[in-house]
């Protein structure tokens, strides 16, 4: 994909390889490489690596994937153009358009949404300065770094950070016996996903389960005063 807007002269309508006349009706899938003008009707799908021209008399009911599209006619269906879409004044487009560049002339009708994705500038892909440590993976990622990470990695880094905060709270109970401290750490981490029914059962549980409830409150609101039920 190019950063520069496609030259309109390159999408010349006069040198079209194939022109499907008005009396031609096609149902099915059509693929081509160079250029095609449709003046008749088509129901189905069009896949192209070249230029597709929809004539003023054409009625196309199809999902279109092409490089360039110039429409004078009526299209019903989603359009994906890797380079450019031009809706001329007589064009009627019902469906979504995905393309990096679009021209919508006055008089045309466009009912749908348009997504314009272009290749990111090269500057944003530059590596970080040598002075900073590499943040490969999620270990060194800071909270705001998670934005630039892929979604799965960002989620995992946030989860790790939360787990770290909860572990810090559980470390305050290090005075407990070793087995209890480990259990406390496990409990704190797992309380978020624990069903409420199980939490209610702790009312009748042993003394350390009561302690667990106190830690749940502590982990949910760290600023509240800590209560020890010994």
């Amino acid at each position: 994909m190019r950063d520069v807007q496609p030259n309109a002269r390159k999408t010349d309508e006069s040198n079209v390889t194939t022109t499907l006349a008005e009396d031609l009706h096609i149902t099915g899938t059509m693929t081509f490489k160079s250029s095609l003008m449709i003046e008749g009707t088509l129901d189905g799908e069009i896949v192209s690596e070249g230029l597709l021209i929809i004539g003023p008399t054409a009625k196309v009911n199809a999902a279109i994937t092409t490089k360039n599209l110039i429409s004078h006619g009526k299209i019903t269906g989603d359009v994906t153009a890797s380079e450019q879409v031009v809706l001329k004044g007589s064009a009627v487009q019902t469906g979504n358009i995905t393309t990096p560049y679009i021209i919508v002339e006055s008089g045309s009708v466009f009912n749908g949404s348009c997504v314009m994705k272009r290749e990111a500038p090269a500057e944003s892909l530059k590596p970080e300065p040598a002075g900073e440590e590499s943040t490969s993976g999620t270990e060194g990622a800071r909270p705001h770094d998670a934005v630039a990470l892929p979604q799965e990695q960002a989620v995992s880094s946030v989860q790790e950070e939360r787990a770290g905060q909860e572990t810090a709270v559980s470390e305050e109970y290090s005075a407990l016996p070793a087995g209890e401290a480990v259990r406390a750490g496990e409990d704190v981490v797992s309380t978020e996903e624990e069903p409420e029914e199980q939490a209610e059962k702790t009312d009748e549980g042993s003394w350390w389960q009561g302690e667990q409830r106190t830690r749940e409150r502590t982990s949910r609101s760290p600023k509240e005063p800590k209560k020890f039920l010994f």
């Binding site: 390889t17 096609i26 099915g28």
Partner: protein, 114 residues
Amino acid sequence: MATIVPPTSEYTEEKVTTVIAEDLHIKGSLRFETSLMIKGSLEGEIASEGLLVVGPTAKINATIVTKRLISHGEIQGDVTASGWCSRKRTPTQGTSLPRTSSWKAAPSSTGRSR
């Protein structure tokens, strides 16, 4: 009364309403009224009330129902021509066959090509 078959040389690309180029591939059904020349490939069905010209580079795998047919290319499928049909061999299709052979199809007659 015998049907008069005009020479195939009359049907040049300029005189045909639609010419489907070599890079165009269609899978499905196709219907037209006047005239059509296919140079690309087609798989499915063709229904016409006019003239179908199959170019030398064309590859057709379809059931054809038309009024008139001129074929220079490959057709696989049943052909029904209510008017007449003409098959013209090109050198690329084998030298063992007559270079040019044409035949008439009686109205509403059906013949299998190849």
